[in-house]
Each structure stands twice: as C-alpha cells, then as structure tokens.
Amino acid sequence: MGELLNIVSIILILSGLVFFLGASIGILRFPDFYTRMHAAGKGDTLSTILIMSGMAIQVIGDFEGSSVLVAIKILAIAVLIMLTSPTSTHLLMKAGFDDGIIPVSKDKKTKINDLGGPFLKDSLSNESVAKKKTATRKRVKK
C-alpha cells in the first residue's frame, strides 16, 4: 500500500513539473502580453494543484497521527490557489486591456468578434467598446 501511494504521488509531482515547464517556456516565448497570460494562468494553476495533491498523498503515507490534518491543509492551499489564480489573472489582464496594450493578431487590426452564443437574444450594442475606444484615443492625445 505504501509503495503504491509513493508511486502515485511521484507521478503526480512529475506531471505537475512537466506542466510548469510548459508554463515557464510559454511565458518566455509567447509573442505578446495576452498570450503570455494564457501560459501563466493555466499552467501555473494545474501544476500547483498536481504537485500539492502529490505532496498531500506523500504526507499521509509518510507520517502518522496528525498527518491527515496536514494533508487537508495542503489540499486547502490547492483549492485556495485554484480559486484565486484565475481571479488575479483576469484582473491583471483587464488592467492591461484598459491600459491599452495592443494584442497581436494576424491582420494588424484587432477586432472584437461577436460570436453570439447559444443564449443570444439580440445583437450586442457596440456602446461599451466605443466608449473604451474614445478613452484610449484621449489618452493617446495627452
């Protein structure tokens, strides 16, 4: 039983390291701010969850007595990070968007692509986008 837990935790930790390697190479190589956020927001969260669960299994297998509580705490950190990491990613991305960082795209112009979606009732007004655009223009003039 102990051997099996050991092997499972090692597999979890190693896969977490592989995903973190993807995230760090992505942060190094992706061409612009927005795409780097993709690497940071996803790879970071999943690798943290995997390594944390591996360590939790490790702790349960290694020690006795109060180790269950420690394992629960480790899992609580994983849940905390799973909840907070997308929030901070979203807020930082929004800060960059409001600051006027220009996303790269195939044809130099950045469009907002209205997909609609399964619940679309009426076509969206372009009001908020227009507002944002004038705000950016004003900042450029300053």
């Binding site: 190589r29 992706f30 991305m93 996303p103 195939k106 997909l115 619940f119």
Partner: protein, 160 residues
C-alpha cells in the same frame, strides 16, 4: 438559517486551520465565527429566498461539473504545452478577442463561468458586463469551443 450555515462554514475553516482540538481553542473559534457571522453573513449567499433543499441539490450537482472542469483543464494545459514547445510559435496561434452573451442570471453563476473560462481551452476572460463576456482566445480552435457547452453546463448545475 443562512446565518447558521455561514457560521458552520467559518467554524470548519477555523478548526482545519488551527488544528488544535481542545475546549479553549474551539471556544475561541466559536466566539469569533459567531461574531463574523453576525456582522457580515449577508455577504455570502445573496439570494435568501431559495429554500435550503435547492442549495443542497445544487451542491450535489457541483462535483460532476468540477470533475468535467478538471478534465478540461488538463486538456487546455496539453494544448498550451504543445503550442509553447512548437518550433514555429507564430503559426500555431491566432490571438483574437471574442464577445458573447452567457444568458446566466445571478452574479455567482457568472463568476463560476468566468473562472471556468479562464482555466480552460486557450481562453481568458477580459471583461464582464452583467452577462456579456469579453474573452481573449489564443487560437481559432479555442474560440470555437467557447460557445459550445460550458454556459449550458453551468446553467444546469444552478438550475432550480
């Protein structure tokens, strides 16, 4: 009713974080959780009209969604991994901004959808205005997958 629920959640958190099971420390936990629940319990559950049985039903449907979400997160990470290791990175990505309407009603549903979008296939939430989502997608494939089923799943979880 909801106040008692908030109190219980806080107390469980206290016991897990402190780890000391003796009358003195649990007493301190009871006092501080009661104080917090009394002062600010209205922050947690916004819609108090729903019966508790509905909440329990939603809670029972949540694990299935979470397991599906975890699998989607793994797929998304493999996608990003493949892109970041490919030698010609600029051919693999087609960054674009996409806007759509989710059709969800409460803030909490939109919050869950926004977190899920940020964690799954090549998409990050840029902006939310009521239920209008502005999303940055890393490739055409990710943008197509966006409107397929995720909003419907969230709607199913939180249905009455």
């Amino acid at each position: 009713m909801y106040r008692a629920l908030v109190f219980l959640l806080l107390l469980i958190t206290w016991i897990v974080l402190s780890g000391l099971i003796d009358p003195f420390h649990i007493g301190l936990g009871v006092i501080s959780s009661a104080l917090v629940a009394w002062l600010s319990s209205d922050l947690l559950f916004e819609d108090r009209s729903a019966k508790l049985i509905h909440r329990l039903k939603q809670l029972a449907r949540l694990p299935g969604y979470l397991i599906w979400l975890l699998w989607q997160i793994v797929l998304a990470n493999i996608h990003v991994l493949r892109i970041s290791f490919s030698p010609k990175i600029n051919d693999q990505i087609q960054p674009q901004i996409v806007r759509f309407r989710s059709g969800l009603e409460t803030d909490f549903e939109n919050y869950v959808l926004a977190q899920s979008i940020t964690l799954t296939p090549g998409t990050v939430t840029l902006d939310i205005d009521k239920d209008v989502f502005t999303v940055h997608a890393i490739s055409d494939h990710a943008a197509k997958g966006l409107v397929s089923s995720m909003a419907q799943r969230v709607k199913n979880v939180f249905a009455e």
